[in-house]
């Protein structure tokens, strides 16, 4: 009994915890602003075909110093299900990229969500670290790789059973391609590293017996 609909349920369930690519890889300049949107999620098997779950969100960011950027978002797909979800966070530039050294940024984000049906809320702190390099004629493009983890604060899950996972780590690699007016983002994540993807209502596509692979596209406009 493989329900295509249940696949969607489960897929969204998993994908919600990694439903966006990295917001800020390199901190904005002081006073610089950006808005962006992204689409993508975990890859699941729908029938025999792989399908990328179409999770989407929009966000805005602001450089409060040359090293520190804050952002806030709104998750559009979640809202379609009556779940108001946002991630807010701060990204700090530890190292600027130099000739041979990559740039390093760290972030502390929080995903907060509440459903309009029961008012049940959840908060997930999400620390993140990324390393990146610039390339191109004007060093306008960025390639990056990083690691983040969602932190589950609930000790119990359904029916008062112990919550087995506290950390849901993900590894990502991506590129930011800049044109004179826009920036385009492509990112691939390995979601939920170490968490089994066997015997679930959903067939996740992953090279491993754990987690899922996610693919994301993003658009950024800086001001």
């Amino acid at each position: 009994m493989k329900l295509k609909q249940a696949i969607i349920v489960g897929g969204i369930g998993l994908a919600i915890f990694a439903c966006n690519p990295v917001r800020i890889v390199e901190p904005l300049k002081k006073g610089e602003k950006a808005i962006g949107a992204n689409l993508g999620g975990a890859v699941v098997k729908l029938g025999k075909a792989p399908v990328v779950l179409p999770l989407s969100s929009i966000y805005g960011a602001y450089g409060i110093t040359s090293k520190t950027t804050i952002h806030a978002s709104f998750h559009v797909t979640s809202s379609l299900f009556g779940v108001l979800q946002t991630d807010v966070g701060i990204t700090y530039g530890l190292l600027k990229p130099k000739v041979w050294l990559p740039g390093i940024s760290v972030g502390m984000h929080t995903h907060a969500m509440v459903d309009i049906w029961t008012g049940t809320g959840r908060i997930y702190p999400t620390p993140e670290i990324n390393i990146y390099r610039k390339w191109g004629k004007d060093k306008q493009h960025t390639i990056y790789s990083g690691f983040n983890t969602w932190v589950e604060l609930q000790s119990m899950r359904a029916h008062q059973e112990p919550q087995p996972n506290i950390f849901l780590p993900s590894f990502q690699i991506g590129v930011l391609l800049s044109t004179p007016r826009h920036q385009w983002q492509i990112e691939c994540k390995q979601l939920a590293i170490g968490i089994s993807n066997q015997n679930l209502v959903v067939d996740y596509i992953s090279p491993f017996s754990y987690g899922a692979t996610g693919i994301y596209l993003g658009w950024v406009k800086k001001f």
């Binding site: 009994m1 493989k2 329900l3 295509k4 609909q5 249940a6 969607i8 349920v9 489960g10 897929g11 969204i12 369930g13 998993l14 919600i16 915890f17 602003k33 808005i35 949107a37 929009i58 805005g60 709104f74 559009v76 979640s78 809202s79 379609l80 299900f81 009556g82 779940v83 108001l84 969500m113 459903d115 309009i116 049906w117 029961t118 049940t120 959840r122 997930y124 969602w150 589950e152 609930q154 119990m156 899950r157 359904a158 029916h159 059973e161 919550q163 996972n165 849901l168 939920a192 968490i195 066997q198 015997n199 679930l200 209502v201 959903v202 001001f223």
Partner: protein, 297 residues
């Protein structure tokens, strides 16, 4: 910039809607006619084709009416057994799983009718609203209403609660638990659940790895894990250890653990997946296990 930000936020909020997965959870299929033994489509326990045959004289297509807040629906079912002996035979009410319609489960139903060789067992199987030829649209409420209507059909034929057994498979575990709570016209004397759901919330928890509320995706509860706490009848639970759809650990074990009655029987079948437990167990052994549970004290 500020104006653009406000615009995207308003657009985003505009998307906020009442989209739920409730209507998408059912894997029902409409058909024009039932084929039962001669069905050539995909069916569960397909290796039973040609075995455990039921004489035509013991196959009785039936219809009855189900009422819910959605209105009335015509429910199609099949009674396997001597229809004039419903009041004196032991009857198994078979609540089938989520796939398609009764033809998918014909092999399972006919197998149950063979628990005792002399056919003193009747089996009533029916299609929930929206499945097979049954009219209407499926929902959690309608599953319960349709199963209640099946109980009323049996009661109208003179069946008493003490000779009613309910067997819920997969999705069918939800109505099986519901009618075992003792609030309907008949209360099953014993309950058998094969590969049951714990709840919709467990499905979400399993799929996400997080303790997310089920309400984020569906208004349905399908909360067998809580309902079973209020069920005191003898209870048999069967589950494949390699169930690839409803994990034995997070669904079946939780349901069985929450059973507070005094006669709980657990049958964990090594290497069985979601839909092949009787086959992996061996049909003879499967029937014997059921017979011992149903007939035993």
């Amino acid at each position: 910039m500020k104006r653009e930000l406000i615009l995207v936020i308003i657009l985003g909020l505009g998307f906020t809607s009442c989209l739920r997965l409730d209507d998408q959870l059912f894997n029902n299929k409409k058909i024009a006619a039932y084929a039962f033994e001669s069905y050539t489509g995909t069916r569960e326990l397909a290796d039973l084709n040609g075995q455990y045959l039921i004489p035509d004289s013991l196959i009785h297509p039936i219809t009855f009416t189900s009422s819910s807040s959605d209105g009335e629906a015509t429910i199609y079912g099949v009674y396997i057994g001597a229809i004039d002996r419903v009041s004196t035979d032991t009857v198994i009410l078979y609540c089938h799983g989520n796939a398609h319609h009764m033809d998918m489960y014909w092999s399972r139903a006919k197998l149950l009718s063979k628990i005792v060789p002399n056919h003193r067992f009747g089996v009533l199987m029916f299609d929930y609203r929206g499945y097979g030829k049954s009219t209407g649209k499926p929902s959690e409420e309608n599953l319960y209403a349709d199963t209640d209507a099946a109980l009323q059909w049996l009661a109208s034929r003179g069946l008493q609660s003490e000779r009613l057994i309910v067997y819920g498979y997969s999705l069918g575990s939800a109505p099986a638990c519901e009618i075992s709570l003792g609030k309907k016209i008949l209360t099953p004397a014993k309950i058998i659940l094969e590969a049951p759901f714990a709840s919709s919330q467990v499905m979400i928890n399993d799929a996400s790895g997080l303790a997310l509320p089920g309400s984020y995706f569906t208004n349905y509860k399908i909360n067998n894990a809580d309902k079973i706490r209020s069920i005191n009848q003898p209870f048999m639970w069967l589950h494949g250890t390699k169930d690839d759809f409803l994990s034995i650990k997070t669904h079946g074990e939780v349901v069985f653990k929450n059973y507070k009655g005094t006669k709980g029987v657990a049958v964990r079948v090594d290497n069985a997946v979601h839909n092949n437990l009787p086959s992996v167990m061996g049909y003879t052994a499967y029937l014997e296990k059921l017979r011992m549970f149903i007939i035993g004290n």
